[in-house]
Amino acid sequence: MDAIEITGVTKSFGDHRVLDGLDLQVRRGDVFALLGPNGAGKTTMITILSTLARPDSGAVRVSGFDVVEQADQVRRVISLTGQHAAVDEMLSGAENLILIGRLNGLTTAAARTRATQLLSAFDLVDAARRPVRTYSGGMRRRLDLALGLVVEAEVIFLDEPTTGLDTRSRQALWAVVAQLARSGVTVLLTTQYLEEADRLADRVAVLHGGRIVAEGTPAELKARVGAEVVEIRADDGTVLAERPVDGSPSSVQRAITELELLIGGGGHVVLRRPTLDDVFLALTEEVAA
């Protein structure tokens, strides 16, 4: 059984069709990245997966449970960290963590211990007793992530988890996600950062216009664009033009000729491996065209 099974999901808000027949399977224990530009439907898919919204049609199962018919069973096995910090402003950081622990059935002592662990791991010890409304944006975000890790979960949803995080916290979160994956938890994260998907994810799906337009390992997706990318750079290193190629001498030659015509001479040629950015641009342009 897959951790997540999505078949033919549609969802509209008024006339606007946000999800348009989305199919996706996520294997147990994978870190899966849902990649897409703003408005592609990533957050909508996460709210459906986490039982906050219902699909208009199609079926969604998490750990084998239907998100509409068996919402309560789904809620027992998931954890969601949404895009907007879901924290209680009036309570302190420690009180927030203890409340969530207690609501999940931990004893007061166990909830306290867990809160202490999370506060120190997310660098919030000094602010532990202060009301959250005095926190900075980054601190709020860190607390939000900590709240998603209070108790065990089979499937963890992270909606743009590193947006608004500084580099240090971002790397800390990446370490946590890697560790989660090692311990067998399934992680579905959405991101606009290809670097993040590339580093963390076992598999990546590109969401565009409410459907999955490509899916595979980061390497497979990069291979779809071509083996190499020809770039012409100015002397200061800025990219003037680029084109993916299959790596054969003739394709490289043709690309250089075409690019030179395009920019009208100058610069120097660089050959590089494609990144997920190239994949992303190529795929979303294909769909738009």
Partner: protein, 269 residues
């Protein structure tokens, strides 16, 4: 964060099923903490009714009833005004929860997430009973002389609690309707005019006939007449039945409305 702390983090404790009662208790505790933290709102919800009482007794009192026992007449009205004012902050609290992401976290947990609302209501009851006690103490200081025995006091307190619950549930529902925290605050203001259009401050027989009919038949008048009757040992008549009836009707209707709103706001997404 080090590699070891990543390991500590992912050693997540197992979940246990949580009963309705525990969930309810935790949310009541949360809302009580909110009340205590929001010192400004707490002070205003007590100070405003006290100031209104002093205003009525010392500024208008002499003109309305030159005998000087106006304080006995007006205290029941002030108590209800105080309850209404205190209850209105529930709308703000509920709207705050619904418009920030915190409700989404509760909704993705295997708990009855509408216990959030119940928590606000119970905390409001506790807060308002404290405020009512302060108002009564100040009233005694400025000359309020009730003639009630223990039984009559108990009956009055039960009636006041019923009213607090009824109006708090109504404000909770309004907090769910409101699209913003500011709007929720304004609803509260509108409902506060109701006591002025009752026998709270002046007997209704001085009002023009149309207005008088409204004043006589709106829920606050029988409530005030009942509390007045209980505390000052005057004729009760049928007022207590009307008062209890109104309170229960408002409470049940507001609870059903709130439950419906809570559900439909999640289904609409």
């Amino acid at each position: 964060m080090t590699a070891t702390s990543a390991e500590v983090l992912t050693a997540m404790p197992a979940r246990e099923r949580v009963g309705r009662l525990t969930t309810g208790r935790l949310f009541v505790r949360r809302s009580l903490l909110h009340s205590i933290r929001d010192v400004d709102a707490l002070i205003i919800s007590i100070a405003l009714p006290v100031m209104l009482m002093l205003l009525f007794v010392y500024v208008f009192g002499g003109a309305i009833e030159p005998g000087g026992r106006y304080v006995d007449y007006v205290v029941p009205g002030i108590i209800l005004l105080c309850a209404g004012f205190g209850g209105s902050s529930t709308a703000v609290g509920v709207a705050q929860d619904m418009t920030t992401g915190v409700i989404d976290r509760f909704r993705t947990m295997p708990i009855r997430s509408n216990a959030v609302i119940t928590g606000h209501v119970v905390a409001s009851l506790a807060r308002n009973l404290v405020a009512t006690a302060v108002v009564v103490v100040v009233a005694l200081v400025v000359g309020f002389r009730p003639s009630a025995d223990l039984l009559a006091w108990s009956a009055a307190i039960i009636l006041i609690s019923l009213w607090i619950l009824a109006i708090t549930w109504l404000f909770a529902a309004l907090g769910l309707v409101a699209r913003s925290v500011e709007a929720a605050g304004n609803y509260g203001f509108a409902l506060l005019f109701l006591p002025y259009l009752s026998s709270a401050f002046v007997p209704t027989d001085t009002m023009p006939s149309g207005l008088r009919w409204i004043a006589d038949h709106q829920p606050i008048t029988p409530l005030i007449e009942s509390i007045r009757g209980l505390l000052l040992d005057t004729e009760l008549g049928t007022a207590p039945y009307w008062a209890v009836g109104w309170c229960l009707l408002i409470m049940v209707a507001a609870m059903l409305w709130a439950r419906y709103l809570f559900r439909s706001r999640s289904a609409a997404r």
